[in-house]
Structures are given as structure tokens and as C-alpha cells.
């Protein structure tokens, strides 16, 4: 689906930190089947909050009276620009803070990772009663501050540079749609402040080999020019890594897996052209070496049209 002013701007959805955050906080920004029209720029501010008091120590679910509830808050700026109707560039930059309600550990805060995606829709055709569109999304993220990764579960991120490749398909019939996508994330090694650490053996180095990861996502719901409401299932799998041992602290190269179920709603305000509001939440159904988080988020977005030669309301070829 392609859109311009007067239509909802692209989903900018957030998955918040699990046990210290897996991938970027904007893991899902690129995972919807919506393109900005050429020369349109949609941007906005998002707030997100995530909390857990139960987590998986390896596969063992437990609480920790010396952490209580671990909460993460995030404020981020995000944007999506249409280079063409079929090629968009997206970015996001969050400020993150963490804290634990019990115990003595100091919370952390800071600017986290800058993410940039290129989103390409090479194919969009009528198929049966609906429209099938295919997408390829490539992303890169890098830490923009020297935050501590090796301070889980209260670090604000894992401090890897990530390269991601996502393939996505969307099918829409009338106002009903379904989107599936699969992603591979290559992660760089990280450097930590200490000169040795133990995983399943002792490492005499400050470099940590961060396992790569993959994820898939299924989403379905209602989508019109003014309203989008969808349910989302996400699964994040770390390809390698090790389990937290009994009563140990987590470590960045743990095998962090999580399956989450959530909803998102986006509403485009009638009275103000280009303005939209979004909100959503999700819950971690199952996991490994991560917190069982409940997360919610909300945001305000606005579309600017830099196509001066055209009238702003001229629709492009997005009608099915």
C-alpha cells in the first residue's frame, strides 16, 4: 500500500527492551507494508514503555527480588521519506532509560542506536480479489553513544552494529490485509569494559562474539485510509549464544529468544491534514534469557509533502 498526505503514514512500531533489549528498539519500524509516496516525509515522536518482573533464566522462568520490576522507557524520533513511490528511506533514533524497582543497581540512560532502512517495493499486482505486494528491506543500525552493553538487565542496548535484510509479502482484500515477513540480522562483535568474561568457557579478551539473529512476523487486520488496526505476532530467535546459568547475571551474548503478541492502532486525524496518532501494546508469550515484558507505546506523526509542483491532495496510483 502506498500513500500520501491524507492517508496514514507508515507504521513506526516499537518493540521495547526485553532483558536489556534485543536488536534496536525500532526493530519493527520497517516491518509494515506501507510506502510513502514520492517526496513525502512522514515523521514523528514516539514514546514507549516496557516492564517485566518475570524472566527466563535459560528456560527457567523466575522472578528476582533484587530487581523487582525492570522497566524501560523510550522516546524516539522517526522519519520515513519517499525517494519514489517504490523506494523509501526510514530512520529512527531513541533515547532510552532503564531502572529496577528493587535492589541497589543504578539505572542507565542515553541515546541508543541510530537505525536506517531502505525499503523497496518491487512488485504490486492485482491477484484474485485483492492486491499482492512484495518488499525487500535492508537496514543498518549503529550505537550513537558509548553506553554500556555489559550491564544487563539494565543496559540500554547491546551496542552492536546490525545489518538486517527482510523479505516481506502483503495481501489486501478490501480493507482486510495480512503481512508476513522474515528477517536475518547480522550483528557485529562488541567491546566491553572488562578484559575477560565467562560464557561457557573463559575468554581472555574484551571482545564479545555476538551471535546473529533471525525473526519473523505475521500481522493481520483492518486497513483503510483513515484507520489501521492490526494484530501482530513476532518471533525473535538468536542463532547461538548461551543460557544464563543458575542465579547468574545475563550477558550480551546470551541466546535471547522471544515471541510476542500485540496490537497496533493508527488513526489519521480528519481535522488536520497529515496528522496521525498511533498506539499499541504487546506481551511476551514465551522467551529464553529475556524478560516477560508487557509493553505499550504511542506516538504522533505528521506528513510533509515536498512535491511543490503538484497539488498536495493529488492522489497517486494507490487506489486498488
Amino acid at each position: 500500500m502506498k500513500l500520501q498526505i491524507g492517508k496514514p503514514c507508515a507504521w513506526l512500531i516499537i518493540i521495547l527492551c526485553l532483558i536489556g533489549g534485543h536488536e534496536s528498539l525500532f526493530a519493527q519500524t520497517d516491518a509494515d507494508a506501507i510506502m510513502m509516496a514520492k517526496n513525502n516525509y512522514c515523521s514523528g515522536i514516539m514514546y514507549g514503555n516496557s516492564q517485566w518482573d518475570q524472566y527466563w533464566e535459560g528456560t527457567l522462568k523466575r522472578n528476582n527480588l533484587n530487581l523487582g520490576t525492570v522497566s524501560t522507557q523510550m522516546v524516539g524520533y522517526m522519519g520515513n521519506y519517499g525517494l519514489s513511490d517504490k523506494l523509501n528511506v526510514l530512520f529512527g533514533l531513541p533515547y532510552v532509560s532503564t531502572k529496577a524497582s528493587a535492589g541497589t543497581l543504578h539505572g542507565q540512560q542515553g541515546l541508543q542506536d541510530l537505525s536506517v532502512w531502505v525499503k523497496w517495493m518491487p512488485y504490486e499486482k492485482k491477484l484474485g480479489k485483492g492486491t499482492l505486494s512484495l518488499y525487500g528491506i535492508g537496514g543498518y543500525s549503529l550505537p550513537v553513544s558509548n553506553y554500556i552493553a555489559d550491564y544487563l538487565p539494565l543496559s540500554i542496548g547491546l551496542h552492536t552494529q546490525n545489518l538486517s535484510l527482510r523479505a516481506m509479502a502483503d495481501y489486501q482484500v478490501g480493507n482486510l490485509f495480512a503481512t508476513v515477513s522474515g528477517t536475518y540480522v547480522a550483528r557485529s562483535n562488541i567491546t566491553i569494559d572488562r578484559t575477560s568474561y565467562y560464557t561457557t568457557s573463559l575468554h581472555l579478551t574484551n571482545q564479545v562474539d555476538m551471535p546473529n539473529a533471525s525473526s519473523y512476523s505475521i500481522r493481520a487486520g483492518y486497513r483503510s485510509d483513515r484507520l489501521i488496526a492490526e494484530a501482530i505476532f513476532d518471533s525473535w530467535i538468536t542463532n547461538g549464544g548461551f543460557d544464563i546459568t543458575r542465579n547468574n547475571m545475563p550477558f550480551p551474548s546470551n541466546r535471547m529468544n522471544a515471541s510476542t503478541l500485540g496490537i497496533n492502532i493508527k488513526y489519521t486525524v480528519k481535522a488536520v491534514q497529515g496528522l496521525s496518532l498511533i498506539g499499541g501494546g504487546n506481551y511476551t508469550l514465551a522467551g529464553r534469557n529475556v524478560g516477560q515484558a508487557t509493553a505499550y507505546n504511542g506516538g504522533v506523526f505528521y506528513i510533509l509533502d515536498f512535491t511543490h509542483k503538484q497539488k498536495k491532495s493529488t492522489p497517486t496510483s494507490n487506489k486498488k
Binding site: 533484587n66 535492589g103 543504578h106 536475518y184 575477560s196 581472555l204 546459568t245 543458575r246
Partner: protein, 517 residues
């Protein structure tokens, strides 16, 4: 055209991703060391002063067969058989152990300490289980290798290795059996050649003594340790630097020396260091009676204090009665203005820590699941010793001096902690959140500072050119606890000087042990 741009972009990202994955392999700082090639063979080390042995001949080692004996020739043939097809794995093990047995065993110990340095999870009724050496495989696994436990373990193994190698050097000189590659030039030395006699094998001595010590210290790991010992011994035969009888004699000597240290360890009072409920309550009563606020555990549920009677353990470098004389005077009273000022100072550090302060805190934290501060100093020392080209016996002597200092520092520090039972900064002001975990024992004096003061002092004697670097490291390690909100400044400062006093005992010993003549 646009399709092309998209395609090119994706190809670029895919290529970059590939690059990412390929560039990931990481090697440790000591993975690919050059083989140990001692600057001096220390042929006279058989006369160096031993620690527990009365002298190098406490345990007899029989004279070896002469090199023209058919049984010795058969042993040469064993080497030749191995050397006909050395696998890549054989070569890797020759290289690994070739860097030095004292070094590798120290690394293996550090690994086990890190693996076992995990506080037990509480029982459902809020009490805590204790690891039991009688049932080491039941949760919580034995041992909980916390800093005092680790310091003592490193010290016993290092001291036993030293005594065993002094004895080995004595017999090497006495019997003067040359290395196999000297006897038979068709045997190739896969490691640097030396004039040091090969009987008994120093590597087998190390393997034997360490295996026996580790049975006591890490009973869950006996199979793993035995495998490492076998690898070490086998690698020396395959390398052409020892024959089977060098190995057999060395291992037997090592095991016997270990028995002497094990007997000491069983009676050094460490077994009773956990104390009982009566002891734990006693600290509170005594401290309260002095008009001071007693320490409380900041964990939930409250955990009994860590090894409160470790201060009674028999030290290596001075008599047990000396421990109390090394204990510093009291910390500022918990009701004093100075205590308030020092607590405020801690709060000022954790309120807005700089990234560099956080780095220092993390660098020296050495908390749960690490090889502890004594292990960190072992790592610092080992990586410097590598560049010194010490002989194995000198390696062992220097590690023993360091680790005896660290153990005795733990004894004096723990003695002080439980004598004063002083609260942590966070207990005085709960808004002090810490940048690393708060250890579960009283504040005064700082363990990190005491360990670091002791280690920097003896290391500065061993490598004088690095003395100022060591004291700078010790000062940073000490202050890291203030930056992290773990300790008051006086805990750190007095811990450092107390540690230095312990380190001076090691220097006194070092000056007299014959190694520096």
C-alpha cells in the same frame, strides 16, 4: 532504473552482512603465544626455600635408567612413533602447553573460579542453602568460588606447584638426564631446546600436583582437570622434550607434594569460615554494644554474610597471631560527621557518573561469574610474566608469592570487615544506587583495595620496571569501588595501605628464598 538502484542497494547490504559474519572470530590474548623459552634455566632452583616442604628431598625420586638401557630406548621409540604422524590437534596442544604449564594451569583455575563464582539461590522459606564438599554435585554446586575462596584456592595451588617444582629442579640437577632430543638426534624438538635436564618432567610435576589440589578445591571438575593433565603430559612426549619415565616420575612427585598442602588446607580453618547463626547474630550484638550501626545484608531475602570467619584462616606469609596486628583501626563512627561526609561523597559519585568512571567500575568489578579480584591480578601478572621469559620454577615462585599475598590479604581484610561490621554506603543512604553489585559483606575495609595493595606491592618487587604501573592500577581498582557506590573513601584508602603491608611480607620472603641471589 529504480529497480536497479534497489537491487544494487540490496546487493551491497548482503555483501556487508557477509563481511560482518566473517570478521567475527575472536582470539584471546594468550591463545597464540610463542613457546616458553626461558632466559635462564635456574639450574640451582633446587636450593630455593620451600614453603611447606622441609626441603627438596622430602619425597625421594628414584634414579632414572641410564640412556643406553633398552627400556629407555623403548621410550625414545614411543616418541618417534608419535612424531611420525602428529595431528593438527597434537600440534595445537604442544603449542598450548608449550607456553608454560604454570601459566596454563593458572588460566584453567581462573576459568573454574569464574564458573563457580555464583551465589546460591534462596530456599523457598527465604533461607539460603550452602554448598557442601560432601555432596558437591547437588545444587548449590560446591564450591561457591567467591573472592576469599578463590584467593585461597589460587594460593594453595601456586604454593604447592612451587614446592613441587623446587623438588623437581633438585632432582633434575642431581640426576642430570638429558632431554630425548639430546640423546637421539632423530627426535625433533617441537619446542625450544634447553640444557635443563628432563628427569623428572616439570610438566608432569605440575600436572600431578595440580590434579591433587584441584580434587580438594573443585571436586566437580576432577574429570576435566584429569583430562587437561593427561593432555599436558602427552603433549610433552609428542613434542620430544620428555620420555615416559620423566613423566611418570614427575607426576608421582607432584602428587606427593600436594598431599602436604592438602593436609594443611584441611586444618587451616577455612572449612569453618561460613560460621553459624550464633556467629552472625554475635556480630550484630557486638557492634550495637559499641554504639555503632551494624551491617545488614542488602539482598532480598537477607543473605548470611560471606565467609565471616575467613579472618581466622591460617595465613601463608605470617603467623596467624599477626593477622590481628595488621588489622587497621576503626572506621569513622556510623554516627560521626565524617561518616556523613563520606556517605555524601559516595552519593555525589553515583548521582551523575561519567562514562569513564563507569568504565573503571566495570573494568575492576570482578563480581559474580568472574575470576574475582585475585584472579584479575593473576591475569595482570601472568600477562606480564609471559614477556619476562621466566623458567617454570620462577613462574611458580612468582605466582606463589603473588597468590600467598592475595590470600593473606583476604584473611586480614575479612578479619577487619567482621571485627568492625560496618554498613555499606547504601545502607546509610538507600538512595545510593550502585554501578555494580554490592557484595554481601561489611564495608570496612575494601576487599578490592586490600587485594590490589598487596598484589601491586609484590609485583612491583618482581618486575621493578612495572612498579609504578602496578601502583597506578591498584589505586584505580581501589577508587573504582568509590565511583561505583560500593565503598567509602576511607574503606579504599585504608584497604590499600593494609594490602601493601601484607605485600611487604611477601617481599621479605622473596628476598630470602634464594631465587634472587
Amino acid at each position: 532504473m529504480k529497480k536497479m538502484i534497489g537491487l544494487i542497494l540490496f546487493m551491497a547490504i548482503a555483501l556487508a552482512a557477509l563481511q560482518f559474519s566473517c570478521a567475527k572470530s575472536i582470539s584471546g590474548r594468550t591463545d597464540n603465544l610463542a613457546p616458553l623459552n626461558p632466559a635462564k634455566t635456574d639450574t640451582g632452583a633446587g636450593n630455593w626455600q620451600t614453603i611447606l616442604l622441609a626441603g627438596p628431598t622430602d619425597f625421594p625420586v628414584a634414579a632414572p635408567l641410564p640412556v643406553n638401557n633398552p627400556l629407555y630406548v623403548a621410550e625414545l621409540n614411543e616418541i618417534k612413533g608419535f612424531q611420525k604422524n602428529l595431528s593438527a590437534d597434537d600440534q595445537a596442544k604442544i603449542r598450548y602447553w608449550g607456553a608454560g604449564g604454570v601459566l596454563r594451569w593458572n588460566e584453567i583455575m581462573r576459568e573454574l573460579v569464574a564458573k563457580y563464582n555464583l551465589p546460591p539461590y534462596q530456599n523457598t522459606d527465604g533461607t539460603y542453602p550452602f554448598p557442601s564438599s560432601a555432596n558437591p554435585f547437588a545444587y548449590p554446586l560446591f564450591p561457591f568460588a567467591n573472592p576469599p575462596y578463590a584467593a585461597r584456592a589460587y594460593a594453595y595451588v601456586s604454593a604447592a606447584q612451587y614446592d613441587a617444582l623446587v623438588a623437581a629442579w633438585y632432582y633434575k640437577k642431581l640426576y642430570n638426564r638429558p632431554a630425548p632430543y639430546v640423546v637421539d638426534s632423530t627426535i625433533s624438538a617441537k619446542l625450544p631446546k634447553t640444557t635443563l635436564p628432563s628427569y623428572p618432567s616439570e610438566d608432569a610435576v605440575l600436572a600431578g600436583v595440580t590434579v591433587e589440589m584441584m580434587k580438594l578445591l573443585f571436586p566437580d571438575e576432577i574429570a576435566y582437570i584429569q583430562q587437561k593433565a593427561d593432555e599436558e603430559e602427552e603433549s610433552r612426549i609428542k613434542a620430544g622434550v620428555a620420555v615416559r619415565s620423566d613423566i611418570v616420575a614427575g607426576e608421582a612427585l607432584g602428587r606427593q607434594v600436594a598431599d602436604k598442602f592438602i593436609a594443611r588446607a584441611r586444618t587451616d580453618k577455612a572449612g569453618a569460615a561460613a560460621g553459624t547463626q550464633t556467629d552472625w547474630t554475635g556480630f550484630v550484638t557486638t557492634t550495637t554494644a559499641r554504639g555503632e550501626t551494624p551491617w545488614v545484608s542488602l539482598e532480598t531475602p537477607a543473605r548470611p554474610p560471606m565467609l565471616p570467619l575467613f579472618g581466622n584462616v591460617t595465613p601463608f606469609l605470617f603467623p596467624a597471631a599477626t593477622t590481628a596486628t595488621l588489622r587497621p583501626g576503626p572506621p569513622p563512627s556510623t554516627s560521626s560527621t565524617q561518616m556523613k561526609t563520606e556517605t555524601d561523597e559516595v552519593y555525589s559519585y553515583i548521582k551523575n557518573p561519567t562514562r569513564d568512571q563507569m568504565r573503571i567500575v566495570q573494568f575492576w568489578a570482578d563480581g559474580v561469574a568472574t575470576y574475582t579480584p585475585p584472579g584479575h591480578w593473576d591475569a595482570i601478572a601472568a600477562e606480564d610474566f609471559i614477556n619476562q621469559n621466566f623458567s617454570e620454577v620462577r613462574w611458580a615462585r612468582n605466582m606463589a608469592l603473588l597468590n600467598m599475598s592475595l590470600m593473606d590479604a583476604a584473611i586480614v581484610c575479612w578479619n577487619t570487615k567482621y571485627f568492625y561490621f560496618n554498613p555499606r554506603p547504601t545502607q546509610m543512604n538507600p538512595s545510593i544506587k550502585t554501578l555494580t553489585g554490592i557484595p554481601n559483606f561489611p564495608s570496612y575495609i575494601s576487599g578490592h583495595s586490600t587485594f590490589s595493595g598487596a598484589a601491586a606491592t609484590i609485583l612491583g618487587y618482581i618486575i621493578p620496571a612495572r612498579a609504578s604501573a602496578y601502583s597506578a592500577m591498584a589505586a584505580e581498582a581501589s577508587l573504582s569501588r568509590l565511583y561505583g557506590g560500593i565503598h567509602y573513601r576511607s574503606d579504599c584508602a585504608i584497604g590499600l595501605t593494609t594490602g601493601q603491608a601484607v605485600g611487604n611480607y611477601a617481599i621479605t620472603r622473596a628476598k630470602a628464598d634464594g631465587a634472587d641471589n
